[in-house]
């Protein structure tokens, strides 16, 4: 006979304000098998837990139901409490009467009814719970960092510092990310290269760090502590182990008209190239779309120039497989494309540029050697208009609904740097509002206004029209003065919204991690677990999780590293015992389950069976590797015969819940 205890939590007023907790406890006390039903203000507090523990001992409970917040919040807390009182932790069920009830209902009567129903379902389920025991699984002491921007670099350095091997997979020929393209950095205005490149070199020189540049992750299998990852090293047609990065080939390459992506297409590079002088690894890469040798079979200049014989026109993509205990995602961001913002004439005039393009135009290693010149005629601009929030905080599908967070600060930076270097240039900034929270940030912005006399105008630019004299007519409204403005500008700079890298979504699918509707990776808890993904063993670093500036990125990168190190330090981890199991007598061996298992946990064996008609037959049957299974339950749904079942969430348990709800 089951002896079940029910514990209804008030969660302060979180639950109790909308759910009549006493009535719920009363109603559930009449459910079959329930011997004690109580309510308490904070069930998760020490005294709340003691109440549960005492009841388990006093009433010799065989199962407990906690009506409280989501199991993601406190299931573990109550499992531990049960274990401490001698009850198997898997005999605990949580009825979520907060997130799924009190928080979403206004009417006390309906919310109370629903809470009772949720409680009944949990009681019906706990009747069928079986005690489960966890197993241990070993941890591979190596981490993978996907993305080699400042986030990925910092995470890798910290993990390596703790003594673990770490691989960086970067899809570009060099690590560095967006920070490598930036000129100077707010709020201190130190040069990005001066603070980034030493870190890049440190990463390259650290013997614990292995950089796979020009590479991509193509497959991820396994689970926390034991991921198997396939990395595609894309053919760069240059032998990385031989190339010394002398750059002779890039000087002699006759194909000189390739848009230079590092300089945002503002100048050209050669078909064989090293993105920039401080690239890491400093290895040349051939762009097969432009290489004459590869397109026409005639040329081979680089091969002749290269004294170490590193050029290999026949190089193939190479797949390597490696095991990792932890994975950190650091795939960063990109500015959005501006093709939907015709009003700003971005596609019509070379003098309308994005902020990232401006970074290159102002950079000493950029196309103009650091002198700010108009792209169209290479003349010094005297009037520059900045437009903020281009595509940010946008309520139609042209742009993004969120604030890109970094634009107010970098625009202030740009305005200030220009006024500092070219005091004869008038700078206008059109803004919706200026958002500069952060240490020394508002002071920074005020310096732009007060000390550098940047004209900050509250209002949006309506239209930018290129004129026949080469100037740009900027039509805008000044909301504070309530007047329409026309500014005759030499250049317009657009603070384009930022979005996650396009490869993030397929990557999330491979990693079975979650993303939000904007494709930013979702953290396990927005406040309490900001650098972990909801998938165990996968951590988040930098702008791939949400818009961030460098200080925040680096803080998060180190935090993600700390979490990864915490995992790698363990020799083994406790596995979730709620795993799938197939009933061999019912299994058809059809492979449906194996096909849907995202973790590759299912294999097949041919076994001899005694059949009901007294014959023996060899049958192909599924078996689940409990160390690999993550208990997602995909297989149980795919199994046509119902042979596959999930411990702790068995078909009969779920049916019992449904029945209890429908009763």
């Amino acid at each position: 006979m089951q002896r079940i205890g029910v514990f209804v939590c008030h969660c302060g007023t979180n639950i109790a304000a909308t759910v009549d907790v006493k009535a719920v406890a009363e109603a559930l006390s009449h459910e079959p098998g329930v011997v004690v039903s109580q309510d308490y203000q904070y069930m998760c507090s020490e005294s709340g837990q003691n109440l549960v523990k005492d009841a388990i001992k006093e009433h010799k409970l065989t199962g407990i139901v906690i009506c409280s917040c989501s199991p993601r919040m406190h299931e573990n807390t109550f499992r531990k409490a049960a274990a401490a009182a001698g009850l198997n932790p898997y005999l605990v069920e949580i009825a979520n009467v907060r997130e799924q009830c009190s928080w979403i209902h206004k009417d006390i009567a309906t919310a109370t009814d629903k809470a009772v129903i949720l409680g009944k379902a949990a009681v019906a389920k706990v009747h069928l719970n079986a005690p489960l025991t966890s197993m241990e699984s070993p941890v591979v002491k190596r981490a993978l960092v996907i993305g080699g921007g400042i986030a990925g670099i910092q995470t890798a350095l910290d993990i390596a510092e703790a003594g673990f091997d770490v691989d960086i997979v970067e899809k570009q020929p060099t690590i560095g990310g967006k920070m490598a393209q930036i000129d100077k950095t707010f709020p201190t205005l130190d040069c990005a290269a001066c603070i980034l490149t030493p870190k890049m070199v440190e990463a390259a020189q650290n013997e614990k760090i292995h950089i796979h540049s020009f590479s991509e992750v193509t497959d991820v299998k396994g689970f926390v502590g034991n991921f198997t990852v396939t990395i595609k090293k894309k053919a760069r047609y240059v032998d990385e182990t031989k190339c010394t990065g002398c750059g002779l080939c890039t000087e002699k390459c006759p194909m000189k008209k390739v848009p230079n992506e590092f300089n945002m297409g503002l100048d050209n590079r050669t078909a064989i190239y090293i993105p920039f002088a401080q690239a890491v690894p400093k290895v040349a890469t051939i762009d097969p779309n432009y290489c004459l040798m590869m397109k026409t079979g005639k040329c081979g200049v680089c091969s002749k120039m290269c004294s170490v014989g590193a050029i290999d026109y026949k190089q193939q993509d190479q797949l390597i497989e490696e095991k990792y205990g932890a994975i950190v995602v650091a795939t960063g961001f990109n500015p959005i494309k501006l093709d939907k913002f015709d009003e700003f004439a971005y596609s019509h005039s070379p003098d309308v540029v994005t902020s990232l393009e401006l970074e290159r135009l102002m950079n000493a290693a950029g196309p103009n050697g650091g002198t700010l010149l108009r792209p169209s005629d290479k003349k010094h601009p005297h009037t520059i208009v900045f437009v903020q929030c281009v595509g940010s905080r946008c309520d139609d599908e042209k742009g993004k609904p969120y604030c890109s967070k970094i634009c107010c600060m970098y625009t202030a930076k740009h305005a200030m740097l220009i006024r500092e270097k070219y005091p004869d240039t008038e700078v206008y900034v059109f803004y919706i509002d200026v958002r500069t929270p952060g240490k020394n940030f508002d002071e920074f912005y005020r310096r732009a206004v007060e000390q550098y006399n940047v004209h900050y105008i509250k209002g949006m630019v309506g239209k930018v029209t290129p004129k026949s004299d080469g100037q740009l007519d900027v039509q805008a409204s000044d909301l504070l003065a309530n007047e329409q403005l026309h500014i005759n500008a030499d250049m317009v700079v657009l603070a384009a919204a930022i979005e996650p890298d396009k490869t993030a979504r397929p990557l999330a699918t491979m990693l079975t991690t979650q993303m939000d509707t904007n494709d930013f990776f979702t953290e396990a808890h927005p406040k309490l677990r900001p650098v972990e993904s909801a998938t165990a063993g996968i951590f988040l670093s930098g702008a791939c999780q949400g818009p961030k500036d460098i200080p925040e990125t680096v803080a998060q990168a180190s935090a993600a590293a700390a979490k990864a190190i915490g995992l790698l330090c363990k020799n083994s981890i406790t596995c979730n015992p709620c795993v799938a199991q197939s009933d061999e007598l019912m299994c058809n061996g059809c492979s449906s389950c194996e096909k849907v298992c995202p973790y590759g946990a299912i294999t097949y064996t041919d076994k001899e069976f005694r059949m009901p008609d007294r014959t023996t037959a060899i049958r192909r049957v599924a078996s689940v590797n409990p160390a690999v299974c993550q208990g997602c339950g995909a297989c149980t749904v795919a199994c046509p015969s119902g042979a596959m079942d999930l411990k702790g969430f068995s078909n009969s348990q779920i049916m019992a819940e449904v029945d209890a709800i429908c009763k």
């Binding site: 058809n588 492979s591 096909k595 046509p640 015969s641 119902g642």
Partner: protein
Amino acid sequence: MQEAMISKAKALLADGTVTRVIGWKRGEFVYDVTPAVFESAQELDEGFVYDDFTAANVSKYLIKESRKEGKILCFLKPCDTYSFNQLIKEHRIIRENVYIVGIPSDGKLDAEKIKSKGITGILSAQRDGDTVKVETLYGIETLPLADAMLEKCLSCKSKKHVIYDELIGEDGEVIDSDRFDMVEKLENMTAEERFEFWRSELSKCIRCNACRNVCPACSCEKCVFDNPQSGVENKAPADSFEENMFHIIRAFHVAGRCTDCGECSRVCPQNIPLHLLNRKFIKDINSLYGEYQAGEDTTSRSPLTNYDTEDCEPKIVHERGVE
């Protein structure tokens, strides 16, 4: 055709390629043609039948037969080869133990349909172009072919054999059939009309299990309807809801695996158009995940046990659910 098949079977038995032959034999009436296993030339001469009433798909029998000693010869019509392939894909048939001879089919006759036209005492049927001449105890009756042919043949999807060791006759092509027309009609009904349609059809079910037993996709070692633990175990057809659930559960179970062989509707003694449930699934799968024909090959993954980033989002259920 029957003669050619018998001599092929004899030759394969004689040279030791196979030890048994699965074919068909006649029962009490001319149109009672059911699968049977033959082990010798003599048995073949005595009982092997292949005619216009030979519609049964033998693929499912090979689950058991291919696990026995020795190789078995089977004759597969184009539609049967899809079922066979699907069973190979599901690891249910041991391919090495089966020798397949593909046979052409230009459609089979439906005795129930003929009888429904008031023709009884059927002795034989002769096809003649667009008509069928039926010899009965009471004389000769002629009716249009369309009135005598099985539904599954009228909306034939393919005359191509997707798997075989050898063929008798020429292979055909995949056909651009109108098999989804009726599904579309049902889709265009209001929810109430559709509910009424299915209510009235499914309430005829006597739960004889014929559809399940004949279905090549229903090949589970232990069917959920026979499993006391499943909660949907075989029950007397007492409650109409239970009955409706039976067919819906079955349709879900075979979704993505049903090749649309049409056997369910062919064997239903109550003439319930069960194939329409399966075709609705097939049509939805085609439109949501791209064209997919179960059993077309042995390796491709059914969209329902596959995931790719192009897949529709679950909210489609809601969107489609709104009238």
